[in-house]
């Protein structure tokens, strides 16, 4: 795997791409940004006129301010991935979407500038209680 864009893939995904046949389908979580780049938490309270009435209103305002811009910032990238015939799940609101496609398509998707990181869609398990 000599393509530099493959460095965006985590170790498990790199291994999967190394062993996969070109048309084998893989499901991957791709990220559109780096830690520290997200829009800052909305701060309230400095201007009394802006003070929300309770936590839910504060959250609602944060949603109003961040939702549209966060999704919009990622729409072009999602459309580019979609144009490569990758199946996309998610709207980019949380900076990541799930893509499914052949190994060849996944490699191609990784070359998009705004794709900063990609992980194999790994198993996510409960932290099981333990016996003593």
């Amino acid at each position: 795997l000599s393509d530099p864009s493959l460095t965006k893939a985590d170790q498990k995904l790199q291994q999967a791409l190394e062993t996969a046949r070109e048309e084998e389908e893989i499901t991957v979580v791709v990220t559109f940004g780096d830690v520290g780049e997200a829009a800052a938490e909305i701060q309230f309270g400095a201007d009394q006129g802006m003070r929300p009435r309770g936590r839910a209103e504060m959250r609602q305002r944060a949603i109003q301010q961040l939702q549209g811009s966060t999704v919009a910032a990622n729409t072009a990238t999602i459309n580019t991935l979609r144009s490569q015939e990758l199946k996309i799940q998610g709207n980019g609101l949380v900076g990541s979407v799930v893509i499914n496609g052949t190994a060849r398509q996944i490699r191609s998707g990784l070359s998009i500038d705004r794709v900063t990181h990609a992980s194999l869609d790994e198993t996510f398990e409960l932290v099981r209680p333990v016996k003593t």
């Binding site: 985590d10 291994q15 999967a16 062993t19 996969a20 048309e23 084998e24 389908e25 893989i26 979580v29 990220t31 780096d34 830690v35 520290g36 780049e37 997200a38 829009a39 800052a40 938490e41 909305i42 701060q43 309230f44 003070r51 929300p52 936590r55 839910a56 209103e57 504060m58 959250r59 609602q60 944060a62 949603i63 961040l66 939702q67 966060t70 799940q89 998610g90 709207n91 609101l93 949380v94 900076g95 990541s96 979407v97 799930v98 900063t116 990181h117 990609a118 992980s119 869609d121 790994e122 198993t123 996510f124 398990e125 409960l126 932290v127 099981r128 209680p129 333990v130 016996k131 003593t132």
Partner: protein, 363 residues
């Protein structure tokens, strides 16, 4: 009847090709629900994921059976209910109406009683296995939800728990007897039904939580062993939407953590014992990521032999960082109720500085 089909060890190229053919034949089929065969590894599991599944149409099920029968490298097994390895209760179970041991509440409140309004107006999203509204939490769960990955949506459901874990966890937040913040509400999201999902489940759940204005806290006891950076940016975004994330570390002792609980952003929670020691099973580690060093967990809370409600009614004491995590979420709910406009960054700081320093377990 539902079936699982799996590849035997070292399958032939013909077997892999046959599975591929079947995968392609499934394309376009609507509402296929895919399940994971946990004991398969690497690329083979991905292949089988796409063939094994439930809610197959009768024709597809028949095709799958035929495929397996015609290939010696495949085996087919009935998808029978799996008995989960439930944690052994510590001590005896208590029937409904009995007085449970609430030592964890004494650790939180000392000699003080819980405030009647503690946590009022605060909602915690419990991303777990669901919740059964046993008497301890009846009327305190404001919503039950499940994920539909195929349709990429979160749907309201009647309730119920696929495991019992989520019920125990929810009780420690809002339970009338054992909960830290009984007036707080829980939104129960079955993110990992049966105790297992994938990162996709996590991403869908995060998209949903981000835009629910009632939710102030996200409580989660799940993850991927080791350090996996792929979810860190998402956690950062969720917190910037005003949601505190409180996540269990792991139950395999020192030098064991999971992502996303081992990121810098969330409040990561380990388990303490009744005598104020870090529990031997409590996960944690010193990590260095991008030249930044930090320690996981951020704090510990009661997590050894903690009593809460169970699915069939009554109570059991369980061990786990999963038990400590909702106690911290409950405390955060009390703090938000007192200061509803507190920023997530300030809330995290206050949570951490307000804790006592315990001795670390021996390495």
């Amino acid at each position: 009847m539902r079936y699982l089909i799996r590849l035997k060890e070292d399958p032939s190229a013909a077997a892999l090709s046959m599975v591929d053919t079947t995968i392609r034949s499934l394309k376009g089929e609507s509402r296929q629900y895919l399940s994971r065969v946990a004991d398969l590894k690497d690329s083979r599991s991905r292949l089988v994921d796409r063939v094994s599944g439930h809610k197959l149409t009768p024709k597809l099920a028949a095709d799958a059976v035929e495929m397996a029968n015609n290939n010696p490298d495949l085996e087919i097994i009935p998808d029978e209910p799996i008995s989960l390895i439930r944690p052994a209760p510590v001590g005896s179970a208590l029937a409904e109406g009995a007085a449970p041991d609430t030592w964890h509440l004494r650790k939180v409140f000392g000699a003080n009683a819980r405030a009647d309004d503690g946590g009022e107006g605060v909602t915690v999203a419990v991303l777990d296995t669901g919740a059964t509204e046993v008497p301890e939490i009846a009327g305190r769960v404001s919503g039950h939800y499940e994920l539909d990955l195929d349709q990429w949506q979160v749907s309201s459901v009647a309730g119920g728990d696929t495991d019992g874990h989520g019920t125990h966890v929810s009780g420690l937040i809002c339970g009338g007897t054992v909960g830290v913040a009984p007036p707080a509400k829980v939104e129960s999201v079955a993110m990992i039904p049966g105790g297992q999902g994938t990162m996709s489940n996590f991403i869908l759940a995060m998209e949903w939580v981000a835009v629910q204005p009632d939710i102030s806290i996200l409580n989660m006891s799940a993850g991927i062993p080791g350090y996996r950076p792929g979810m860190q940016y998402t956690i950062e975004i969720i917190e910037n939407f005003g949601v505190l994330t409180v996540i269990a570390t792991r139950n395999e002792g020192v030098n064991s953590t999971r992502s996303p609980g081992n990121y810098v952003e969330p409040i990561s929670v380990g388990a303490s014992t009744r005598d104020d020691r870090v529990a031997s099973f409590s996960g944690g580690a010193d990590l260095v990521v991008d030249n930044v060093s930090y320690t996981v967990p951020d704090l510990v809370a009661p997590g050894a032999a903690v009593t809460s409600c169970v699915m069939g009614g009554g109570y059991e004491a369980w061990n786990g960082t999963s038990m400590a995590t909702p106690i911290v979420s409950g405390i955060a709910a009390l703090m938000i109720q007192r200061d509803p406009e507190i920023a997530v960054t300030d809330l995290k700081e206050q949570l951490i500085v307000s804790y006592r320093n315990l001795r670390l377990p021996a390495k």
